[in-house]
């Protein structure tokens, strides 16, 4: 199944962030494949009919299995900054033209991920504080 995909998006990690990414990709009918390290979670996704590769996204073998050479983009969504950084580097080495978006827990890590080759880095706390601030600023 993974080998037949082309111009798809690889979503690494199906947690709170990954779940939302998949939701959005499905909404726009963009082809994707999920890489999930947790076997139980991967099995559950398979049961739901979603394309999944069970394994560690930092591994070249796993990313190749997910078809990274033919993928258009990779969305790295685990909550481990170090793993995300490692995955960015691995993905870039396997496909230099791939679009890379990831998450970081701190601003410092966000800048490191960008240096490593990520095109976009989302910081959950930063996004939330922005949203809360917008709401608090209303009517003042």
């Amino acid at each position: 199944m993974p080998s037949v995909l082309k111009d798809h998006v690889i979503v690494c990690g199906y947690g709170l962030v990954g779940e939302k990414i998949v939701e959005l990709l499905q909404q726009y009918s963009i082809p994707f494949i999920v890489v999930e390290i947790d076997k139980a979670k991967a099995d559950s996704l398979k049961e739901r009919g979603l394309p999944v590769v069970c394994g560690d996204a930092t591994s070249s073998k796993v990313l190749k299995e997910a078809g990274i050479e033919h993928a258009k983009a990779i969305a790295i969504a685990t909550d481990d900054d170090a793993k995300n950084l490692f995955t960015v580097i691995t993905a870039k080495s396997l496909n230099s033209k791939i679009i890379i978006a990831t998450r970081a827990n701190t601003d410092l890590m966000a800048s490191k991920l960008k240096e490593a080759g990520a095109g976009f880095v989302a910081t959950p706390n930063k996004s939330a504080s922005e949203e809360l601030f917008k709401e608090l600023s209303k009517g003042t």
Binding site: V17, K20, T102, S129, L132
Partner: protein, 258 residues
């Protein structure tokens, strides 16, 4: 006779000097052991010096000492020594007790609550973490005042700031919200990492101020409805926001690539 008086005067001066030095050393040791406070040590050394000098030179004692020979003078100064040492001990113990009391009563907490009481239209931020720290920075950039309620002292140890009063309390308790002056606050942000605490905090905040704006951070989508039921006006799930941002970036990138 004149030579004898000169000798007496010299002895008196020498003895005074010895007494002053002894008093200084005694006060230093006593204060170091009791207060551990260098400023107080310095103060008491000066105080002792002043007292010893005053006593020796007072109009009542000096003539007796100078006219009655060195023996009587020595006994007189022994009294001065006892008098000063006892003063040092008494005042040191009183100060140590006051310092102990102040640290027990947590004077910082008291002043923080006092500052909160005088605030109006402020934002109460419940829970201190990366998210709330960023929010507080943003609020201060537009001169909006905040009060932080965080029970875990370790979390706020390194962020003590003159700008933000921090109350070391449990924000799910009414007394904590009241201490943060919720009746005069414009908004409450429940930013802790526990959905249950945030929902409970929203409930307490709404009960205490029916007009206040209540915003909550959540982790679980299913809790959102509960938060609104108890009175939250808006909620955010940081991870969902990040997911949407990443998804949107990827989608736009795909569109451009095609």
């Amino acid at each position: 006779m004149e030579v004898e008086e000169k000798e007496d005067t010299f002895n008196v001066m020498a003895l005074s000097l010895v007494i002053v030095i002894v008093l200084m050393l005694v006060s230093l040791v006593v204060l170091l052991f009791i207060t551990h406070n260098a400023y107080l040590d310095a103060y008491f050394i000066l105080d002792v010096f002043f007292d010893a000098q005053n006593t020796a030179a007072s109009t009542e004692l000096a003539p007796i000492a100078f006219s009655s020979g060195i023996g009587k003078f020595s006994s007189l100064f022994a009294l001065v020594v006892v008098d000063n040492v006892s003063r040092i001990l008494i005042v040191s113990f009183i100060l140590a007790a006051v310092i102990d009391f102040l640290s027990y009563a947590n004077i910082e907490e008291f002043f923080n609550e006092l500052r909160a009481r005088f605030m109006n239209g402020h934002v109460i931020v419940c829970g201190y973490n990366e998210l709330s720290a960023q929010l507080i920075e943003r609020l201060y950039s537009v001169n909006k005042k905040c009060v932080v309620i965080e029970q875990d002292r370790k979390k706020v140890e390194n962020v003590r700031s003159m700008r933000t009063p921090i109350l070391n309390r449990d924000f799910t308790e009414e007394q904590a919200m009241k201490a943060a002056n919720i009746s005069k606050a414009s908004a409450v942000v429940l930013a802790s990492e526990s959905d249950a605490d945030n929902v409970l905090g929203a409930l307490v905040a709404r009960r205490l101020n029916s007009k206040i704006k209540i915003l909550s951070r959540l982790k679980d989508e299913h809790v959102r409805k509960k938060a609104y039921i108890v009175g939250a006006d808006m909620s955010v799930i940081p991870e969902h926001l990040a997911g949407l941002e990443i998804g949107e970036f990827v989608r736009k990138g795909m569109v451009r690539a095609w």
